[in-house]
């Protein structure tokens, strides 16, 4: 079928071409190669839409397009494209966000007279290409390779302003922390190869399928002396390491707030569509492998729930607008992990999508604000921007409502389903899940609070600084993307209105469920639903459960937002969080997470290295030099025999001869 799906590789290649263009001749192009990037991402977007439509038509695509290393008497290592509902949806999201970010960059970078634009657009292009490659990857190795390239691009873009001290350090931290996660991921990849002899995602010979078969005793795989169940859990957790790193889950979340040093559009790209999304997407991609391991699922869920709450609390007290958004990102991805761990595959995907929209929106909105504020990000210097930048204001409002999970904005639906899935499976006999659910629920309140604290501080009240008095205007290339995303953030929820369906009994409006039920055998939501080790039970009936769950979460969200409204929607807001005292200090310092990690690097690794160095110079090399020293000393002694006095020579000569004579005489028994 030489269908549109055969052009899937082009989706990846177009941004790559723009990368090459911007890198090679970017400085000779207008706008530093921006248009190349826009054109490329637009092309990818079009292709992605076409792809989605085709997939909607029931087609899927899985083909090996390049053999990276052909094994002789060994497995081949290949690159392939896997297009199924999940990847198609993700392609759409990524290309859309990337396109909008490119457009927005015109306003944020070009209009602000940044230098080094070719480098910037080259980075964006490569970033997009890597992420798209990761999305369409049809096996774990290819996924890992593009996963790493994503990491590289984040390094390059976060460190874009390399002449300042901050960005390079942040970039280094981002790469290093995620590298730490990727170490486990790589071990996992190798382990998957060693266990199953393949790393394919789809098909009967894919490793999730083989793992499932192995558990049912239908296939035999190398499990290195473990129970298959245990070994699969171990492998799954190894791969999870990469996820935790990239998706900034506890305890590897520390890099993400620092990554705010990068240009804001890049932050939008990183948080909404590319790097951070990659982790969650990976779990969804190989969900069939996690679904068979209760332990892995439980751990994912708990990490997710904890991160959601943990990050939300830190978001409460931040001063910079981007910092708040950063922690909200961490927290939101926590929700997705929670859903995945809680068996809510669809919910997670759903939240991934909605979050992509409203978080991109919020970041771009923040970018717009930052332009207006002449790159001052401190919310306490803002205020009263409401009337000066209405477009930004309203779109930002939509985004905030979505983030807070207020009905009927997109965030509400997805977050509600996340919590709902977790709840019912928790009730189904998994107290751990209930715990995670509780944390998620609590986080909803905080989310509402910090979101609107940010919102009111930024837009309402009186201007608290000169720049806030008359902010710098923004042009179409900023407003356009905001509007698009604003609409999406508002309405995207319709694709999966499960509560409505459940409550009003309107069938068939859970489009996303149906969507994700398509595609490859073994990669469908149904299949996963059969796999997950949870049973569901309800508070009373299913409908009541839905209602209760929705009501509770919505209530909490409203409560949080309301509190923020009371405290901060005043002309002269004061720093109420100071009342928290010590707690605020703890929160503001992110629970001293960075401190201990920096300590691990500088307080443990480096001294250890220095000790090793001393040992190497002193002992190991000392032995080497010692040997030569000893021989030279011996030489110095030996030559002393040569006194220079000929009589001594005669004496020594005689002695030597006599010694020989005596020795041999006794030996040979001459004197008997």
């Amino acid at each position: 079928m030489a269908g549109i799906l055969d052009f899937a590789p082009a989706i990846v290649l177009l941004p790559f071409v723009s990368f090459l263009v911007a890198l090679s001749v970017g400085d000779r192009l207008p706008k530093g190669g921006a248009f190349a990037g826009i054109a490329a991402t637009a092309g990818s977007l079009v292709l992605a839409i076409a792809t989605v439509l085709t997939v909607a038509g029931g087609q899927t695509y899985d083909a090996t397009i390049y053999t990276w290393a052909e094994g002789i008497d060994a497995v081949d290592l290949t690159f392939g494209v896997l297009i199924d509902p999940l990847s198609a949806m993700m392609l759409l999201i990524v290309t859309l966000i990337a396109f909008l970010v490119h457009v927005f960059s015109l306003g944020y970078m070009n209009d602000e007279g940044e230098t080094g634009l070719p480098r910037y657009y080259a980075g964006l292009g490569l970033f997009t290409a890597s992420m798209l490659g990761f999305v369409v990857a049809d096996n774990l190795l290819m996924a890992f390779m593009f996963f790493e390239l994503v990491g590289l691009c984040s390094y390059l873009l976060i460190g874009f302003h390399f002449r300042e001290p901050g960005p390079p350090s942040a970039a280094k931290k981002a790469f290093l922390v995620t590298r730490f996660g990727d170490y486990f991921f790589l071990v996992g990849v190798v382990a998957v190869f060693a266990t199953f002899g393949t790393a394919a995602f789809a098909g009967s010979e894919s490793f999730p399928a083989l793992a499932e078969a192995a558990l049912n005793g239908e296939a035999s795989v190398t499990t290195f002396g473990f129970e298959p169940q245990t070994w699969f859990t171990i492998v799954g957790l190894l791969v999870l390491g990469g996820v935790i790193g990239k998706s900034a889950q506890f305890p590897l979340h520390t890099w993400l707030p620092d990554a705010m040093e990068g240009p804001t559009p890049v932050s939008a790209l990183i948080h909404a569509a590319t790097m951070v999304a990659a982790g969650v997407y990976l779990v969804a991609r190989m969900y069939g492998f996690y679904a068979i391991s209760p332990t892995a699922l439980a751990i994912i869920a708990f990490i997710g729930g904890f991160t959601a709450l943990f990050a939300a609390t830190m978001g409460l007290v931040k001063r910079e607008i981007k910092q708040v958004l950063a922690y909200s990102t961490i927290s939101q991805y926590g929700y997705m992990m929670l859903a995945l761990g809680g068996g809510g595959y669809v919910a997670a995907t759903f939240h991934l999508m909605t979050h992509a929209f409203f978080k991109a929106l919020l970041f771009l909105g923040a970018g717009s604000v930052i332009i207006a504020m002449h790159h001052n990000e401190n919310m306490w210097d803002m205020g009263g921007l409401k009337d000066k930048m209405p477009v930004t204001y309203y779109t930002f409002l939509a985004g905030s409502l979505a983030l807070a999970g207020i009905f009927p904005f997109a965030g509400f639906w997805s977050k509600d389903e996340v919590l709902y899935e977790t709840l019912i499976h928790g009730l189904g006999g998994s107290p751990l899940l209930l715990g995670a659910y509780a944390m998620g629920l609590l986080a909803v309140f905080f989310t509402g609070f910090y979101t609107f604290r940010m919102f009111f501080l930024t837009f309402h009240g009186n201007p608290r600084s000169q720049t806030a008095e008359d902010p710098h205007g923004v042009r179409w290339n900023v407003k356009g993307p905001l509007v698009v995303l604003g609409v999406l953030a508002t309405v995207a929820g319709v694709v999966n209105m499960v509560p409505i369906e459940k409550l009003l009994g309107i069938g068939g409006i859970d489009f996303l469920h149906q969507w994700l039920d398509g595609g490859f055998e073994g990669l469908t939501a149904h299949h996963y639903a059969d796999l997950i080790p949870y049973s569901s039970s309800y508070i009373g009936s299913e409908a009541t459960t839905v209602a209760v769950g929705a009501a509770v979460s919505l209530g909490l969200a409203l409560a949080g937002s309301g509190l923020a409204y009371l405290l901060y929607n005043v002309p002269e807001p004061i720093r109420h969080t100071d009342r928290l005292g010590r707690i605020k200090a703890v929160l503001y310092n992110n629970y001293y997470q960075d401190e201990y990690q920096v300590w691990l690097a500088n307080g443990v690794a480096r001294p250890l290295a220095r000790v090793a160095n001393k040992f190497d110079g002193g002992v190991v090399d000392g032995v080497v030099n010692g040997v030569s020293g000893v021989s030279l000393f011996a030489g110095g002694r030996v030559r002393r025999i040569q006194t220079g006095v000929v009589s001594n020579y005669a004496a020594l000569l005689t002695l030597g001869l006599t010694a020989l004579l005596l020795a041999f005489g006794i030996l040979g028994g001459w004197f008997v």
């Binding site: 052909e70 008497d73 002449r163 390079p168 290093l176 790589l186 190798v190 160095n613």
Partner: protein
């Protein structure tokens, strides 16, 4: 005859350059060194052999004539290549040319001697990788040291005398130990071999025709010889704790020499380990798997930790070579297609990348006249191209996918993880793999402190973009690294083909 032609041409080139006047020497040497490059590429294009040269595979470009007879053993002039040696020959020729070009700036005195010695070394290196008779091989093997000794000693840094003599004596003693070990094997084989041709000896050993010698029964003799040869080669590789000559040599040596040292000379050790220990005595190797794997892991982690402690960019790269070579050992002991093949591939990959890194450091040094991380910052502001390539090379060193380093390392990890020689291999592998985190650590720190941040440099030198002929070799190497990373099969195919025969039989 192409191999003889290659070696002869290089020797002649060395002679010509040695007597050429200084002002042309550099250009002349570069031009002449292009001939072997073409030759080796032609060989690569024409390569038609298959299998392992030592284990009965067909040998490409073979020549075999008797040289002299000693104690009933024929010494042959026996050269030829297989899938293992050919990539290394290509690497050698290319790297030499690039190193010569990169020498144009830093080498200012006694140039004709310098370039002559470089070419002389290249000729011997080609001999090392092409020779299939032990004696011819050993003569080339030792002859490589002589030019290296001068290159470090004459054109090196302030402490060059110590470094040169240390390198020279240390590696020579190592060769001696190895030599004794091998000769013991030959005696143990007795009449079952009639010459010192490696294939003959390898096949005899794998066929278990080793007898007792010097009061040692066959098994003990084999183990002793294995250990002796392993130690001898381990110094060259180098493997911790026999590595201490390396940092001194690297720090003192001028850039192009470091490039050759890290790029090719270290590979002599791993190549010899593969050809001798692991091809000829797989049974002993697998019996000693735990200590060998342990040594590999220690080299990786310990080397990386040492690199983390360094302030001198060159020392950083030098120690990270120790770390990377540890991976190679790990791959060799795995006895899987991906393990041994990956190790061989990693030799090429590391040759390119370490060459790239040393050259990049050299280019920075040419302008700043310092290599100390603390002495400069924000260099990228003044020399963006160099900085860009430096960053790319550094990421290559960290094993960034689609660059040669990742291919080599991943092959090794995969191969050694799934290796069946010992139940602990997955654990060893996982431990060694942590090196990829540490390497990222020290390279990122070094780059952040030297290349990025606000520009500051407390030296009287004007810091500007490097001349084209300094940057060009870097670009070429970067390109090659990426090409090999995207299409490893350019070499990996023939490598696997030559490696697979090692993995079966011979007491495995």
């Amino acid at each position: 005859m192409i191999i003889e032609a290659l070696i002869a041409v290089t020797f002649l080139a060395a002679l010509v350059v040695f007597v050429a006047p200084d002002e042309y020497a550099g250009r002349l040497a570069a031009a002449l060194s292009a001939l072997p490059v073409l030759g080796s590429l032609w060989m690569w294009a024409q390569y038609d052999a298959s299998g392992n040269a030592l284990l009965g595979g067909s040998i490409a470009f073979e020549t075999d004539v008797v040289w002299l007879t000693l104690g009933g053993l024929d010494l042959h002039w026996f050269v030829g290549v297989d899938g293992i040696s050919l990539p290394l020959i290509v690497l050698t020729t290319i790297l030499t040319t690039l190193a010569i070009v990169s020498a144009w700036t830093p080498i200012v005195e006694r140039q004709s001697q310098f370039y002559g010695l470089m070419l002389f070394m290249e000729a011997n290196l080609l001999g090392v990788f092409a020779a299939l008779d032990f004696f011819a091989w050993f003569i080339f093997w030792e002859a490589v040291l002589v030019p290296m000794y001068f290159l470090i000693g004459v054109w090196g840094g302030p402490n060059r005398r110590y470094a040169a003599i240390k390198f020279f004596v240390y590696t020579n003693i190592a060769s001696l130990v190895m030599f004794i070990g091998f000769i013991a094997l030959v005696f143990g084989l007795g009449d079952s071999v009639s010459s010192m041709r490696l294939p003959e000896i390898a096949q005899a050993l794998r066929a278990g025709e080793l007898g007792a010698f010097a009061g040692l029964d066959a098994a003990t003799l084999k183990t002793v010889a294995f250990v002796a040869m392993f130690l001898g080669f381990a110094v060259k590789v180098p493997v911790a704790p026999l590595h201490t000559w390396l940092p001194d040599a690297h720090v003192e040596a001028p850039t192009p020499v470091s490039v050759m040292l890290a790029g090719v000379l270290l590979k002599m050790g791993t190549y010899a380990l593969l050809r001798f220990n692991f091809t000829m005595m797989p049974d002993v190797a697998t019996a000693l798997v735990v200590p060998i794997a342990a040594i590999a892991v220690i080299s990786v982690i310990y080397g990386a930790m040492l690199a983390l402690a360094q302030e001198d960019l060159k020392r950083i790269v030098a120690y990270s070579s120790v770390s990377s070579m540890g991976y190679v050992i790990l791959g060799l002991i795995a006895y899987t297609t991906y393990g041994v093949g990956g190790a061989t591939f990693q030799m090429i990959a590391h040759g390119l990348i370490s060459g790239l890194m040393f050259m990049a450091v050299g280019v920075i040094y040419n302008t700043t006249h310092t290599r100390m991380v603390g002495d400069m910052s924000g260099i990228a502001d003044r020399m963006p191209v160099t900085a860009g390539i430096f960053v790319a090379g550094a990421f290559g060193y960290m094993g960034l996918p689609l660059m040669a380093g990742f291919a080599g390392e991943f092959f090794i990890f995969k191969g050694s993880f799934e290796s069946t020689v010992h139940a602990g291999m997955p654990l060893f592998t996982a431990t060694a793999m942590f090196g990829i985190v540490i390497v990222a650590g020290y390279l990122l720190f070094a780059m952040q402190r030297t290349l990025f941040g606000p520009f500051s440099f407390d030296g009287e030198y004007e810091i500007t973009n490097a001349p084209f002929h300094d940057v060009a070799p870097l670009a070429v190497l970067l390109l090659l690294t990426i090409v090999l990373g995207v299409a490893p099969d350019l070499f990996f195919g023939m490598i696997q083909d030559a490696v697979n025969p090692i993995l079966t039989g011979g007491g495995l």
